[in-house]
């Protein structure tokens, strides 16, 4: 079975309306295809569960995490990384059972389970001996 997992990596798209200025980051992700589901892991450090927005629509999975500034107005002695919102969007070729998608955010790592619909799950066909 071939899997089409076309990706649309983009920074905040023009169509998405943003009320707050600042930089948007592309989170690092892993995607694993198991027999019965796609598993997505994303690093979203600093994102509060309430500030995380995940949407699946028309084969598009969108992940958006808002990150409020953590340091206010400090002057950094060393500034090796930036802090900002996370955004990433994928097109998922597999048939996904949208009703059963589940997600969990723990220690800044998002885990999304995307169960395949029964139709695309591999099935073992029993062969009858003659």
């Amino acid at each position: 079975m071939t899997t089409e997992l076309a990706k649309k990596e983009q920074r905040a798209p023009v169509s998405a309306e943003r009320t707050r200025g600042g930089v948007t980051y592309n989170p690092r992700i892993d995607i694993l295809e198991a027999e019965d589901e796609l598993l997505l892991l994303a690093d979203l450090p600093g994102v509060e569960p309430a500030e995380l927005n995940i949407r699946y629509e028309n084969k598009e999975l969108m992940i958006e995490g808002k990150v409020a500034p953590r340091q206010g107005d400090v002057r950094y002695l060393y500034n090796e990384y930036g802090i900002g919102d996370f955004y990433r969007q994928f097109t998922i070729g597999e048939a996904i059972d949208a009703e059963k998608i589940s997600a969990e955010l723990k220690h800044g790592v998002l885990t999304v389970h995307l169960p395949k619909t029964d139709a695309v799950r591999p099935r073992r066909i029993p062969v009858q001996g003659g």
């Binding site: 899997t3 980051y25 592309n26 002695l77 990384y81 955010l105 220690h107």
Partner: protein
């Protein structure tokens, strides 16, 4: 963009990396496949201060207090060590692998001497914040100016 990289290497790479960077600067050479040695130090740090404390913050998604060791040596050498373990029970085909696993270590020279035994650290949503109280002699002092 994040340009940082997890290195599943022992701490020796960090030192080697510094040397290599120095060499590269001297020789004006670009990467030649020894990728690990060109990786920026991990974790990336943000450092700031107020009158009483120095603060160090690092993004370490997936880690918690049990998986990180924090030490202060010689008054101002902050050492961060840890490991992000790869989940062992995942079976299937990886379509994308951008997140890295493994051990990391970094030694960072703080701009001030700090009270090593009063260092406080906390994790929140994969972000580590370390608060390091400055030693008395490092705190700013108001100098009275007498007008004669």
């Amino acid at each position: 963009m994040f340009t940082r990289r997890w290195e599943p290497m022992a701490e020796v790479w960090s030192e080697m990396g510094h040397l290599q960077e120095e060499m590269n600067r001297l020789l004006g050479r670009l990467g030649n496949g020894t990728r690990a040695l060109f990786a920026p130090a991990y974790p990336a740090l943000n450092v700031w201060e107020d009158e009483q404390n120095v603060y160090v913050e690092a993004e370490l998604p997936g880690l918690d207090m049990d998986s990180v060791e924090i030490y202060v040596h010689n008054g101002n050498q902050l050492s961060l060590k840890g490991e992000r373990k790869e989940p062992a029970d995942l079976k299937g085909t990886w379509h994308r692998r951008e997140r890295n696993y493994g051990r990391f270590a970094r030694v960072f020279e703080l701009p001030y001497a700090v009270e090593a035994d009063k260092v406080a650290a906390k994790f929140h949503n994969g972000v580590l914040l370390i608060q390091l109280p400055k030693r008395e002699e490092a705190k700013p002092r108001r100098i009275e100016v007498r007008v004669s």
